[in-house]
């Protein structure tokens, strides 16, 4: 169950390619993807979210090959958070979370939809922001709103591209704690992250990648050792404190 990526190869136009990627995340697990800039983390996450159809290989969600799932059911299985989200118009936080449930309500919001939206905001502890304009909340709050938006879909899997980017330490920790709670409720989460400390503290599994290939994968604690991190990022071990 959860999400599985089966021997994915994909070549991007820029000459970069993902090569032989296998990934297996169970229900209730958090998998952290680490690696230097340009390693292919975002591309991999887009493949997992179904945004990029890989040249070869496939993705399986809850035991179903996503190539054989209709785009409508697919949209209810996985939610995706891009690395940055800027909203042009003055939607309120509640509006944004409600939009996340679009595959269910298609513009006509029911009482059930409102309840799910409300619960999602409650889970992310942002109920008090409901009426705030999305552009006026802090970066940390914005991420929580966007993750509540993902939750409103009641997905099986959440794919988050750098949810902690541009968050300070306390905002990152508070966000990761909430994500960990979600995993406790059976959600599978795949996220990319640059902070290796957070990655090893919160990740169940870790997928380290470099140049579009798997560098090392396994339990987060065994992958994210000082030695491995140093060679993954091409830095001298003694520069790590």
């Amino acid at each position: 169950m959860g999400i599985k990526i089966h021997s994915v190869n994909h070549r991007l136009s820029k000459g970069f390619s993902l090569t032989g990627i296998n990934l297996d995340i169970d229900d209730g697990e958090m998998s952290v993807i680490v690696g230097p800039n340009g390693a292919g983390k975002s591309t991999l996450l887009k493949v997992a979210a179904g945004l990029i159809k890989p040249d070869t290989g496939f993705v399986e969600v809850s035991g179903r090959d996503i190539r054989e799932v209709s785009s409508e059911s697919m949209s209810k299985l996985i939610s995706y958070l891009p690395p940055s989200s800027s909203v042009m118009f003055d939607y309120t936080c509640e509006d944004i979370v409600t939009l996340g449930r679009y595959p269910y309500h298609k513009g006509l919001v029911s009482a059930l939809d409102r309840k799910v939206v409300n619960d999602s905001m409650e889970t992310m502890k942002i109920r008090h922001l409901a009426g705030e304009i999305i552009d006026h909340v802090s970066t940390g709050e914005l991420k929580k709103v966007m993750i509540a938006r993902c939750l409103a879909l009641q997905p099986k899997v959440m794919i988050l591209d750098e949810p902690c980017a541009s968050l300070d330490l306390s905002a990152s920790v508070s966000l990761m704690n909430l994500l960990k709670l979600l995993c406790g409720n059976g959600m599978s989460i795949v996220l990319s992250i640059h902070d290796v400390h957070l990655a090893s503290k919160y990740g169940d599994k870790c997928f380290a990648m470099k140049n579009g290939r798997e560098y090392m994968a396994g339990d987060a604690s065994s992958v994210l050792t000082k030695n491995n991190i140093a060679s993954l990022f091409d830095i001298n071990e003694y520069e790590l404190t």
Partner: protein
């Protein structure tokens, strides 16, 4: 919620008030009591004069104005939603100019008088072509980038403006076509009859129905194209449908009333401040506000220098520029509302 009802009431009331007001004012003033008396068949004026002025001149003109204003405003809502940019109105991104070029060529070749559908069809085609160009240009770079969009629109407007001016110079010695094209370019509602309405209403109806259908998807687009795709919104087909709808709405308005700009920019802006960014609500009230704006501006255009008429397009451009200055100095308040 209460304040919403008050705002909604104001918009609807103004919309309905604009019709009798516009019927009343003009170079021949009818007292409202004349109208009432006429309604109860106690004529106080020459009945045939009144009937001609009201039903063959003013009423079709008002209805045309209302549909033109409404459809331009609706097109503005769509293009701002499509580009996720509050400045992306049909006149800024070159849609209107594209329609104008096509229509100018129709005037020039004389094909415009060939069949009554040729002008609206040409305007529609011009709008499709210009909007597609701008969308292509905008999507090769970053969609959100205001600069890209405005620069592309600027370039397109300059190009189309040059072609239109060229056509004008070619027609300079043609005493029939030149003034016709000139007045058409300024945008006006003079001499609009029932047959104009017959061109207009089917396209406006079609455009508005399409716009209503895609509106919730434009809301989802606010989350970005990637997220919209994962939420089962087919972004590319949404873009195509939006462009066609914008072209239908602008093409219809442009072919009948000429190049009236600013309605598609100003009206959705003000309406968004009133009613928030949700596209269905925005579409509905923008249509009403756009109608009201054009009808009332036309009343001013007819009466300010009566009996000389001003082209309503000129008047709306003046109002639009005043609005822009206001926007310039009130941006902080504006984004906070």
């Amino acid at each position: 919620m209460n304040s919403y009802l008050v705002k909604a009431f104001c918009s609807v009331l103004l919309f309905f008030l604009s019709f009798p007001l516009a019927l009343h004012f003009g170079s021949t003033d009818f007292g409202l009591n004349d109208l009432v008396n006429w309604f109860y068949s106690e004529p106080t004026m020459d009945e045939t004069v009144m009937q001609t002025v009201l039903f063959n001149i003013r009423l079709p003109r008002i209805l045309v104005g209302s549909l033109v204003g409404g459809s331009l405003a609706a097109a503005g809502v769509l293009s701002q939603g499509l580009f996720q940019n509050p400045l992306a109105s049909p006149s800024v991104i070159g849609t209107t100019a594209g329609g104008s070029v096509a229509a100018a060529l129709m005037f020039f070749t004389g094909v415009g008088g060939f069949h009554w559908l040729s002008l609206p069809l040409a305007a529609f085609t011009g709008c499709v072509v210009s909007t597609s160009i701008i969308l292509l240009l905008a999507s090769t770079k970053k969609m959100h980038s205001v600069e890209t969009l405005l620069l592309a629109g600027f370039a397109l407007n300059a190009l189309f403006g040059a072609v239109t001016s060229f056509v004008l110079t070619l027609l300079l010695s043609d005493f029939q076509k030149f003034p016709a094209l000139m007045f058409w370019m300024m945008g006006g509602l003079d001499a609009k009859g029932w047959w104009h309405l017959n061109i207009l209403w089917p396209s406006v109806l079609l455009g508005v129905v399409l716009a209503w259908r895609i509106s919730p998807k434009l809301d989802v687009l606010a989350l970005g194209t990637d997220v919209a795709s994962t939420l089962n919104v087919k972004v590319n087909s949404l873009r195509v449908i939006s462009i066609i709808t914008i072209a239908i709405l602008v093409g219809a308005a442009v072919s009948v009333a000429g190049a009236i700009s600013f309605v598609g920019l100003v009206v959705p802006h003000i309406t968004r401040i009133q009613f928030g960014p949700h596209h269905r609500r925005l579409l509905f009230y923008s249509f009403l506000n756009g109608s009201t704006l054009v009808i009332l501006s036309d009343v001013l255009a007819r009466t300010l220098w009566s009996p000389q008429e001003v082209q309503v397009g000129i008047l709306i451009s003046i109002l639009g520029s005043v609005f822009f200055f206001w926007l310039l100095f009130n941006r902080h308040k504006f984004s906070g509302s």
